[in-house]
Symmetry: C2
Subunit: 351 residues, 2 copies
């Protein structure tokens, strides 16, 4: 019965797969499987607003890396210029006030919700924005903090940190750390959290690693969204979700260029650059957010697992059908859901 015999591999796989495979190595291991071309429909399992995002084509230019500093600078400027005209409408829709300020000499935006619940009056969230450590200078970078302020009722300080090409690592980390140090002088650490997504999620983790190096207290909680924790791109989803994710599309596009640009010749395995290589022992409670199509889903779950291995309270939420950082999308019901979850978590763990 050759058909039955061949089926056994399948059936074994569902019950106790490793016994035969991993130990006896009876089945040959392929170095790289070949995935066939196929259509990927828009799922009907998400809101219409999210379906519109999922159905959008790849962003033109995703596979182009600027060839020089001028090219990066132009991209950087354009990234914020494109969104800046929408900011007044965004602030109004989210009912937040945004004030430009500076802390420890670092430019920041202070975001205050029109309605600040009494429980949050003495709390403060430090926000570190995403964009591959190279995009979204200025107020556009604070968009995620506006969502958090609005949906969570938290006052936020969003750091407009320095970025390459003019300021590679560790400028961004120095800025984030300087603001954190200054905030510690004003407020109980247990009333503060640090959050941010993508590069901002990686920078959140790096800021904690740096704080520990400098014997500074850690915040009461953190919320790294789809953290870019491994700039060398070893995570499995960088391959598995390539061309499935319609935001980043592939790790071999501009993202790889941004990693090299940010590291500025340093080792990408430096824990302050790729925090997955850091020690998370003693980290505060963390909530992580990603999507099933996210190119950095693996970065997210690797951080989650490593936090748990270190005994840290860590929760994971993964949203159906979403590509990289698509939970940061104003006007989408799943965005409200994601930020309310994060807010609930922070409320539970902050003093």
């Amino acid at each position: 019965m050759p058909l039955l015999r061949r089926r056994l591999v399948l059936t074994v796989a569902l019950a106790v797969p490793a016994l035969a495979r991993a130990r006896e190595a009876a089945v040959p291991v392929e170095a790289a499987r070949s995935i066939p071309a196929r259509p990927l429909p828009v799922p009907g399992t998400v809101s219409p607003a999210l379906q519109a995002l999922i159905g959008a084509p790849y962003p033109p230019g995703w596979d182009t890396v600027p060839v020089d500093a001028a090219g990066w600078r132009a991209l950087q400027t354009a990234s914020s210029a494109a969104m800046a005209p929408h900011l007044p409408a965004l602030r109004a829709a989210l009912r937040v006030q945004v004030e430009r300020s500076s802390i420890a000499g670092v430019p920041v935006f202070v975001i205050t919700p029109d309605i600040l619940p009494p429980a949050n009056r003495d709390r403060l969230l430090l926000h570190l924005h995403g964009g591959g450590y190279v995009l979204f200078p200025g107020e556009v970078g604070a968009g995620e903090a506006m969502l958090m302020a609005s949906h969570g009722g938290f006052r936020c300080v969003s750091v407009d940190y320095r970025m390459p090409p003019d300021h590679p690592f560790p400028a961004a980390l120095n800025d984030a750390s300087a603001v954190w140090r200054a905030l510690l002088g004003q407020r109980d650490r247990r009333r503060m959290a640090i959050f941010g997504s993508s590069a901002g999620g990686g920078l959140t983790l790096a800021t904690l690693l740096r704080a520990r190096q400098e014997d500074l207290p850690l915040p009461g909680a953190i919320a790294p969204g789809t953290p870019w924790c491994d700039l060398a791109g070893a995570g499995d989803s960088l391959q598995a979700n390539a061309f499935v994710d319609n935001v980043l599309v592939s790790g071999s596009g501009w993202l790889a260029g941004a990693a090299r640009l940010y590291a500025g010749g340093r080792n990408l395995a430096d824990p302050l650059i790729s925090p997955i290589h850091g020690d998370f022992t003693g980290f505060p409670p963390a909530i992580l957010t990603s999507g099933t199509r996210d190119l950095l889903l693996s970065d997210t779950v690797r951080v989650h697992r490593k936090l748990r291995q270190a005994g840290v309270v860590a929760e994971l939420q993964v949203f159906e059908g979403q590509s990289h950082a698509q939970f940061i999308s104003p006007g989408v019901p799943e965005t409200t859901e994601a930020f309310r979850e994060i807010a609930l978590f922070l409320d539970r763990h902050l003093l």
Copy 2:
């Protein structure tokens, strides 16, 4: 500057993507994106034992659906016959005793760990095995319960429920429910949990829905692993992870046939068949487990989100690089990690 202009779509996507896309619908929506063919290497971010599993080729026969009852019966018998010879070694390695018994007339296996911690002496876990509601009759189906007993130190009762082709829905649910009802007569519901993966995860949820219909108490916690909660296969990862998952490979293979076989002509949208359509209000704390390559990752996260929307304490763990139910693999470090996490969660929530 056409290049810059084209890049804006990308950059906007990272900051506040929906504002332009979802509201103004400025970007055309594709009904189905075409994903190119590509190689998928084995990731270096998991243990060598797990790498061996991830590197295994597709199970031969994954895309063949038996054409008649005799074909299904042969597959069913073979699924267990293949693993049965390994059971003594598995029991010995896991240090568990397995006893064949029956509860309320339903055949069960009672699994007792050699070391039963005092805290777990009065606790009991009800296990419902996976296999598409058609595979793994007999003791082989209890393999997952042996892992739970071993890594968690819990006594488990694994239900050898009736299956198609001879016994389609609701036979399995009737059996699981009968055992649950009987166990309630012996023990405080708060000292019991229900768990299982794949079809066993779906059946766990269905058993709770049925218990509520019948005004029976619910358990103190549940642990549905990668629950097959939508037999119509609407979850996005059934498409996105097709050919990426090397256990199920695709939802259009034998899995679709198993769904029809189990439903026996009933509506796949029946919440007792596809519990994603059920009401999870009042469910006990739940921990869900999946993998980044899992064909049922979407089923898992949809259940997680729906539980959270219902206000239920629900935690999610997703393992790097794993295909469907690969966390149930003896001898793999990530398996120990997964089951210890589940055990910790149950310990926290059971009386």
